[in-house]
């Protein structure tokens, strides 16, 4: 991100079209890199997208809309993110699967200081041996991204899934 854009974000000044476009480009890279880490089931890489004080939730649309706190997958702090990655690598028992994230509709909903609020749609398709590929998740990310010396990171990422039910299980984070 150019220093000038960063300075404007700091002061709360509105970004012009070019600056917003550049910011969206940075965000888009973050979103795509995150999706790729999930699709590769590289759980160690997945942990690197979050800040120390992060919150990550895979939460159903009904809980989100009703402001209910329970999330199907919930991490409060980077420690829990790392524990989730460890548990998936070392303790969870699940059938092998391939997953693909498809992203669309990135929008920036607010910029204030170092903090950017953004959203994008996701679609996750699962493929397993002996079965047709199928859509397992469809929804919207509701995110708060912050600038850090290591680049953009998620301080809060909520994967709000519209599908009423999870098909079998949610193993790989969305």
């Amino acid at each position: 991100m150019p220093a000038e854009t960063a300075a404007k974000m700091e002061s709360g000044e509105a970004l012009d079209r070019t600056e917003l476009r550049a910011l969206k480009q940075d965000l888009w890279e973050l979103y795509e890199d995150y999706a790729q880490a999930c699709d590769r089931q590289d759980f160690q890489a997945w942990t690197t997208f979050f800040t120390q004080d992060c919150e990550y939730k895979a939460i159903s649309r009904e809980n989100f809309d009703e402001a209910l706190p329970h999330a199907t997958l919930y991490c409060d702090g980077l420690g829990m993110v790392k524990d989730r990655a460890m548990a998936l690598r070392e303790t969870a028992v699940y059938e092998p699967r391939h997953l693909r994230h498809f992203l669309s509709g990135l929008r920036v909903t607010s910029v204030a200081g170092d903090s950017i609020e953004s959203e994008a749609n996701f679609l996750v398709v699962e493929s397993m041996s002996g079965r047709e590929s199928r859509i397992v998740f469809v929804g919207t990310y509701v995110d708060r991204v912050v600038r850090t010396p290591q680049g953009l990171k998620f301080q809060s990422r909520q994967a709000v899934f519209d599908n009423y039910r999870v098909l079998v299980s949610l193993v790989v984070p969305i």
Binding site: A58, I59, S60, E62, N63, E66, L68, P69, H70, A71, T72, L73, Y74, C75, D76, G77, L78, G79, M80, K82, D83, R84, M86, A87, E90, T91, A92, V93, Y94, E95, Y164, R165, V166, L167, V168, S169, L170, V171
Partner: protein, 421 residues
């Protein structure tokens, strides 16, 4: 509305179910056709879910105010749970008496009354039919016959019990009272979770598992698997074969109580047989496996209350796992996570964290959903074969350890007889 007499029910149970013969070894065997045969599934829906049983439908904190409603399920029938004007709770079948359309189309909301969108037949919160548009016709023509008795055409009303804020319903007016249905031991464990203090709804997780509903029920009657499959439990001491525990079949075996204790991470003689014990791993955030001792008995409890629900208390996560059978080979498990109104902020925080153990993404529940999927694959096309349930012996007496399948044996002793096999 009167229940369907058993005689009539049996005469409609045509097809394969009538031809099935249980293996002669009895309740130590489970023939795989109980998991695959749609005619048996139909019979189970009639005899169990529509029969003289109490089915979990909601928590009263989900419908706090008069007019608040929630849709729910009993077997494969949809019902509406609604708080009446006087504060009591009614449960009615969600099916218009006229043409069978669902009357209520929203999962939750608040209503003064219910109107079927199709022909606007209108029902009060008790399910009584209050209005039929154009009942007297228009311009002197049409309308309902003179002998049409509005009182006879309400929504189907169910029996309702509220036990400490947990709501139960039955299609059968002859159902024994809830206390008798549970029996004293199960009732004491229900009351342990629902002592009558205010409940706080935390949220839902719902999943479809492509397995027979009984497989899910059995899984919570099986402490043996939990000591082996669930590496997360074993490693972090939340469930281990060397914990003090109990397996208590209740009533005629239909219900079951499974008790354990949180032991913490440790290495003992028994860990050498737990090949999935991962001594070298530790958590960054110990809160996930460190329960606040909220119950004086320090127990961890899984209750299977036949036929519709598993009541779960593991660490500080409390949940109702509502079993909604979709077909012989598919079940929806809807988890309602809750706490109490008087939870401290710290306990409320732990409940959310500990719910990571459970549900479709649960550190341990993932294993179950995945394994049960594989069990159904195994059962499909293996109708001439059977499962063997002899761990911990062949009898059905309560046992004070985990290395047993006594709860499953007791369940199938009940099932075999109830289904007439």
């Amino acid at each position: 509305m009167a229940s369907i007499p058993l005689q009539q029910t049996e005469s409609r149970e045509a097809g394969e179910a009538a031809e099935r013969r249980w293996p002669e070894e009895g309740h130590t065997r489970i023939p795989y056709w109980v998991y695959t045969d749609e005619s048996i599934f139909k019979k189970e829906m009639q005899r169990f879910f529509h029969g003289p049983t109490w089915n979990y439908v909601a928590l009263d904190c989900e419908v706090p105010n008069p007019g608040d409603f929630k849709r729910s399920w009993i077997g494969n029938s949809q019902v509406v749970v609604v708080r009446d004007k006087d504060g009591s709770i009614n449960v009615v079948e969600n099916r218009c008496a006229h043409k069978g359309a669902l009357v209520c189309w929203k999962n939750k909301g608040n209503a003064k009354d219910f109107t079927c969108p199709y022909h606007q037949w209108n029902y009060d919160l008790k399910g009584n039919l209050q209005g039929v548009p154009l009942k007297r016709g228009a311009l002197g023509q049409g309308g309902m016959p003179k002998d049409f008795d509005q009182k006879k055409w309400g929504l189907r009303k169910l029996q309702v019990t509220n036990r400490g804020g947990s709501i139960w319903a039955s299609f059968d007016p002859e159902v024994p009272d809830f206390e008798t249905y549970c029996g004293p031991e199960m009732l004491s464990y229900v009351d342990r979770l629902f002592p009558g203090k205010g409940l706080r709804l935390l949220g839902y997780s719902r999943q479809i598992i492509p397995c027979n509903w009984k497989m899910y029920f059995e899984n919570l009657k099986d402490p043996y698997h939990a000591t082996l499959l669930h590496a997360f439990f074993i490693t972090f001491g939340l469930w281990r074969a060397d914990s003090k525990s109990e397996s208590i079949p209740c009533s005629d075996g239909r219900h079951g109580i499974m008790v354990s204790r949180n032991e913490g991470k440790k290495t003992t003689e028994a860990t050498k047989d737990m090949s999935r014990f991962k001594g070298e791993f530790d958590l960054e955030d110990k809160d996930t496996v460190t329960p606040f001792p909220e119950f004086p008995d320090r127990k961890v409890v899984g209750l299977t209350l036949f036929p519709s629900v598993v009541l779960q208390q593991q660490a500080n996560t409390l949940g109702m796992r509502h079993i909604i059978p979709l077909s012989a080979k598919e079940v929806e498990v809807s988890w309602t996570f809750f706490g109490y109104e008087d939870d401290t902020p710290e306990l409320a925080r732990l409940r959310l964290r500990h719910s990571n153990l459970m549900g479709p993404a649960g550190f341990v529940s993932i294993d179950d959903s995945e394994v049960l999927t594989q069990c159904q694959f195994g059962a499909n096309g293996a109708e001439d074969s059977m499962a063997v349930i002899e761990m911990g012996g062949k009898d059905t007496e309560p046992q004070d350890h985990m290395v047993t399948e006594v709860l499953i044996r007791s369940f199938y002793r009940f099932y075999k007889e109830a289904m007439g096999f």
